[in-house]
Symmetry: C3
Subunit: 212 residues, 3 copies
Amino acid sequence: MDTTSGIFLVLDLTGTFAFALSGALTAIKVVRLDIVGVVTLGMLTALGGGVIRDVMLHALPPATFDDWRYLAVAASGGLVAFLFGRGLDRWAMPIVVLDAAGLSLFAVSGALKGLELGAGSAQAVLLGAITAVGGGTLRDVLIGRIPAVLTSGLYAIPALAGATVLVAAEGLGVPELPAAVGGAVVCFVIRMLGVHYDIDAPGPPGFRPAAS
Amino acid sequence: MDTTSGIFLVLDLTGTFAFALSGALTAIKVVRLDIVGVVTLGMLTALGGGVIRDVMLHALPPATFDDWRYLAVAASGGLVAFLFGRGLDRWAMPIVVLDAAGLSLFAVSGALKGLELGAGSAQAVLLGAITAVGGGTLRDVLIGRIPAVLTSGLYAIPALAGATVLVAAEGLGVPELPAAVGGAVVCFVIRMLGVHYDIDAPGPPGFRPAAS
Amino acid sequence: MDTTSGIFLVLDLTGTFAFALSGALTAIKVVRLDIVGVVTLGMLTALGGGVIRDVMLHALPPATFDDWRYLAVAASGGLVAFLFGRGLDRWAMPIVVLDAAGLSLFAVSGALKGLELGAGSAQAVLLGAITAVGGGTLRDVLIGRIPAVLTSGLYAIPALAGATVLVAAEGLGVPELPAAVGGAVVCFVIRMLGVHYDIDAPGPPGFRPAAS
C-alpha cells in the first residue's frame, strides 16, 4: 500500500512537472509574457485540472494546492520553461511525449480519486478526463486561444479511454496498480498514435462553420 | 410534494436538454469543432450554471454532476446538435424558444435552491441569474467570444426579473408552485419580447468604446 | 479586536469599491457593453478574487457573496462607472491609485485569511496574490483580453511582495495590524513605482514569441 502510494506520488509529480513545462512553453509561443506570466501559466496548466476535480468532488482545499511539493514542482517546470525556453523549443518531441505522459497519469489518477471518494462510474471517467485536460484548457482560455481539446486531434478521447479502462478494471475487481497502469498505457498509446498519424476526432457531418 | 418534485425534475431536465442543444449549435456556428468539442460545449452550457451555483451555495458535489440523468440528457442534447447540426440550423425559432424556456426554468430553480439553502434574497436572485446565464457564459469564453450576456439584447435582465418574482412571491407566502410558474412566465415573456422587438439593455450614456 | 475588524472592514470595502470602479471602467474602454455588462464586470473584478480564494480555502459560501455590504458596494462601483464613465475617463490617475490601493488591501487581507484558516506560508502568499489579481483576470477573460497580470508591468509582483511581508511578519510575531499595514504599504509603493517608471517584469531571455 505504502509502496503503491509512493509510486503514484512519483508518477503524479512527474506528470505535474511535464505539464508545467509543456504548458509554459506552449504559452510562450503564443503570447509575449513576463516571468510571472510564464510561471503562472505553467503552474495553472499543471495544477488547474486537479483543482477543478477537487472542487467537483468536494475534496477541498485542493490536494495539489495544499501540498507544497506539487506547488514547488509546478513552479520549477514553469521556471525551466522561462529560463531555457529558446533551447527547449528544439526538444519538441520529448515535450510531446512528456505531455502525453502527464495526460495519461492525470486521467488515471483523477478517475481513481473520483472512485475513492464515491463518485459513480460515469462521473469518475469524466473526472479523469477533466483532471487531464482541465489545466491546459484554463491556460488556453487565459492566452486567448480556443482550447486545443475542443478542436484539434485526439486529446480528450485518449483521456476518456484511459479513465474508462481504469474504472472498468476496478469494477471487475482488478487490483489498483495493474488497473492504473493499463489505463495509463491505453491513454498514452492512443495519444501517441494520434500525434504520429495526425488523426482528428470526427467533425459534424456535412457542416462548415461560418468562421474557423 | 412528490408531484411538485416530479414536475420540477421534468422541467429542469427539459431546460437542460434545451440548453445543451442550443449551446452546442451556437458553438458549431462560431468555431470548427470535433465531436468531443461539440458535446463538451453542449454539456458545459447545460450544466455549467448549476455547477457555479452549487459551488457558491456550498452544495457540493454539484447536483447536476452527481445525478446521471442530467449528464445523460445534456450529452444527448450535444450529440443531437453534432449529428443534425445542419438540419437544426433551419429550426432557428424553436431553438430560441427552447433557450428562453431553459433560461426561465433555470432562473427560477436556481433562485429556489438558493432560498432553500438559506441564501439571502439578493443572493437568491443573483444565484438564479447565475444558474441561467452561467453555462452560456462559460461556453462563450471557451470559444473566444465576448459572452452574449454582457453585450447583447435582453438576456440577464429577464433572468433577474424572473428570479426576483419568485423570491418576492416566496417572501409574501405564495406557495412554491405558483411562485415558480409566475417567475418563469415573467422571465420567458420578457425574453421573447426582447427577441421579437430586438430590444437592447441601455448602454453607457454618451460613451463610445475604443473598439467594438 | 473589534476596532481592528472595523478598520479592516472599512479598508476591505474601500478596496472593493475601487476595484469595481476601475474594473468596470477598464471593461468599458475595451468592449461595447450594456448596463448589465458594466455592472457585472465591475462586481466580478471586485468580488472574483475573494471567491476564488474562498473556494481554495474551503470557506464556502464565499464571504464577499454572503455579505450584502460587499455586493452593494461592488454594484455601486459598477453603476458609477456606467453612469459617469465618460467623465471618469479624465480621472485616470486617481483610478490607478485606487486600483493600487485595492491591490494592496486585497493582497494583505487574502494572505491573512489564508493564515487564519490554516494554510501554509507559501499557500498564504499565493492566496493573497490570487485575491488581489483574480477578479481583474476573470474580467479580462470575459472581455477577450490577455489578462494584464500575465503580460504587463508590475502587477502580480507587488501583490506577492505585500503578501510575503505580511506572512513573514506574522511568523516573526509582529501583531496583526502593523503587519498588515506594512504589507499593504510595500505592495502599494512597488506598484506605484512600477506605474511611474513604467517598469516591466523580465521577459524570457532571448526569446521572441511568434505572435505578440
